[in-house]
Symmetry: C3
Subunit: 347 residues, 3 copies
Amino acid sequence: MVKTAWNLTELAQYLGVELLGNACHEVSRVATLGQAGPGDLTFLSNPLYKTQLQSTGATAVILHPAMADECPVSALVTESPYLVYATASHLFDRRPQPSAGVHPTAWVADDVELGEGCRIGAHSVLESGCRLGANVEVGSGCVIGAQSKIGNDCVLHANVTFYHNVRVGDRCRFHSGVVVGADGFGFANEQGRWVKIAQLGGVAIGNDVEVGANTTIDRGAIQDTLIGNGVILDNQIQIAHNVEIGEGTAIAGCTGIAGSTRIGKYCTIAGAVGIAGHLEIADRVHLTMRSAITKSITEPGSYSSGTAMSKTGVWRKNAARFRQLDEMARRIQKLEKQIQGRDQSPD
Amino acid sequence: MVKTAWNLTELAQYLGVELLGNACHEVSRVATLGQAGPGDLTFLSNPLYKTQLQSTGATAVILHPAMADECPVSALVTESPYLVYATASHLFDRRPQPSAGVHPTAWVADDVELGEGCRIGAHSVLESGCRLGANVEVGSGCVIGAQSKIGNDCVLHANVTFYHNVRVGDRCRFHSGVVVGADGFGFANEQGRWVKIAQLGGVAIGNDVEVGANTTIDRGAIQDTLIGNGVILDNQIQIAHNVEIGEGTAIAGCTGIAGSTRIGKYCTIAGAVGIAGHLEIADRVHLTMRSAITKSITEPGSYSSGTAMSKTGVWRKNAARFRQLDEMARRIQKLEKQIQGRDQSPD
Amino acid sequence: MVKTAWNLTELAQYLGVELLGNACHEVSRVATLGQAGPGDLTFLSNPLYKTQLQSTGATAVILHPAMADECPVSALVTESPYLVYATASHLFDRRPQPSAGVHPTAWVADDVELGEGCRIGAHSVLESGCRLGANVEVGSGCVIGAQSKIGNDCVLHANVTFYHNVRVGDRCRFHSGVVVGADGFGFANEQGRWVKIAQLGGVAIGNDVEVGANTTIDRGAIQDTLIGNGVILDNQIQIAHNVEIGEGTAIAGCTGIAGSTRIGKYCTIAGAVGIAGHLEIADRVHLTMRSAITKSITEPGSYSSGTAMSKTGVWRKNAARFRQLDEMARRIQKLEKQIQGRDQSPD
């Protein structure tokens, strides 16, 4: 699908949108509304950037019908400009494609099964019993543990690690530094000494899942850790053993989810959220940035914790008062009683 | 120790527990109480799951004497069911074992010393002067820096990185993506310009330490960073230079500890805790999830910081009021004085 | 510059400081003031350690003129002892140096350009079109994506991953597990389904940048993610797509910065700070440990959020009251009105 340039007519057709403007013009790159020049395709989705439309140097703009009149250049008109841009963006992705086949420096166990069109990178390792579907790309330096199964059209970028018995659906993408299937943090305590519990479960990941750089997903203690279809995970997320994440849920970077917690479907969890173990989070819950979640959430909606930012000098005073909050509440109560008592007294 | 199946009599003997039930039955897998079927071993430790005992399909259950009467199947009876399960779990761990010896694609410097029974994985690198004890497993893609020493029976899973001069005791386990011995974050400032300070110390790790995936432990600035015996670290933890962690301390995922802080023995630090630098944390301290610790803790006990979660709309109002806390406290004080003044006035 | 031992006269000359003491003595190692013995160089910068000066066993101490009189051994005298120590520390860094040239197990694409003096480690991979300046060290197991450019005198420690089209200036250092150029977390939502947006920008990193272990810096969506000259980043930091970080800014471990946020110059951001997306942070801003920043900061100064730590029992009561803060504020207001009303009433 990657061509040097797209004629606007064929582009509109490919994207399923209406073209208003010059059918012969071509675009060969993507740029932002403010920076675009001749030959560039851009888009207008966030109304904040509307003021940049008049002066854009782009050859064509993907935008909403309501904006079409104000567009000084060719317009690709759609009710969902951001979504159409998402589709269009891939046409201009010139990410170098690895060669087909198995790189001569890769080490692939004898019994590994590779589907058609797989590209196995330099110095990667596929251990015994792995089974890869068609068109799987394994980047340089990846290690795929024994008995792991990867569906069709998956991409593992360089230096991804799967332990044994990891199962992945189709069209998933794993970024560099991801570790799937490391032991969950399971120990019994014997008079101060930690006794390791073997982590016997695996990890099962659905279709269309993306996992960001350096994110870790531990294997289950007995049953599997489960990542549903269409889940997207940003960088540096920690998913502990036996966590379940429901279909279509999105989680931003640096969030950590402790063991056995079940996250519902279509949740959006912002960055650096912490979720304690053994909780249930309902479907369609939104958690704002850096929330600490220590109780189950049974209703959809948005939830938060934390305090607002202040100048450090001001904050220090307020943070100190936080320690007196309960006492303050009691003093207010006492004052209310005193006032009330006196209002009722016959003075 | 990994066999296809265990006869209950030999299993009870191996675990040092009493068998109540059919001495001839065999178990070949582990399952949860709720999901177990014929041939499965399970355990009951958390009273929450007691209701599942009656209907379990397991062949045998590890449980407390107080539960033995209610067990419908064979029982392995012990005062410490979770601990006994921990021991038993390893009998059923079918993690594929790497082949003995040095993989042909590994690169091992001439002067490296390997103990008996070492298994060195594909594409791993052992630099000059490394010394490994007996039965050390080095996973594929690991890099062990020059002059590092690793004791007996250690496991480094795939893609672990040790810098030079890292010293590790016996029976330690490092999960994928772990980095030990990177430079501490040490810089002097010269009129806005950061001047790097060479990090000349190493890292010294005791016996029976486990380090979770993508956790980082920096080398010391001058002296070593120290991890005591029996310390267990979950995933994505950051241990800065010259931190010391006392024996038997457990730290959950995503926690960060800044430079030169000393953590006592037998502490339990929950997930995503932040501990500032140059602090002393006493023995047997517990820190709850996401606490921010900015002062030393001199007494054992449990410590916390943060706020409870609310619906975002409610939270926003309260978070805004946080900025007025000090002012609120002063207003309460003033009200108290006014009330008191009037109570004492002769009106 | 690494010699076995330095004569104090030549050391003072090299460092540009005054020597008070025995010009013939030699130092061969660095130690802390408290632990130093014969042959050791040490320094006194933090006044807290002043009491250790009298009894130091060091051969020489780098210190401030005001301390020189009290120094019982040779003194290297300077207004900036910590800065001079930073320079001196590198003279005693015995980090093993990798051999020059390309390791026989490295895989380097035909068209890669390597400057003079490059050292390319075992099992590393340099993809097509990479260009490295002079004296670049690439550790074992690194993967450098296609078309990436690295300036002179850079160091990539083992197991660093660069995606394609990453551009780095001179004298930069990347620690193990760093991932530069992974896809930003960009998705459009189509009725619950996440549609990936190709991340077409790159990453541009200035000169004299240090990046700590397991830190991730995502590539831009359309334009580049930008890291300015002299920026220093600790371990496990997450830099999202299209973030810009100004010259000389320092960021401590576990901090996360969401997409398109611009951080000014000469900022100091402590550990585990979270900064939301699309914000502007002014120059010379200091953020204290674990602050959550959800609004732009337009003025230099120090900013914070969060609460102070307490014993968990105490904290629990106060954290619960946090939910009533707005109500408490209203009750105070009401009390004030009641008091005021009565003071004005003719009773």
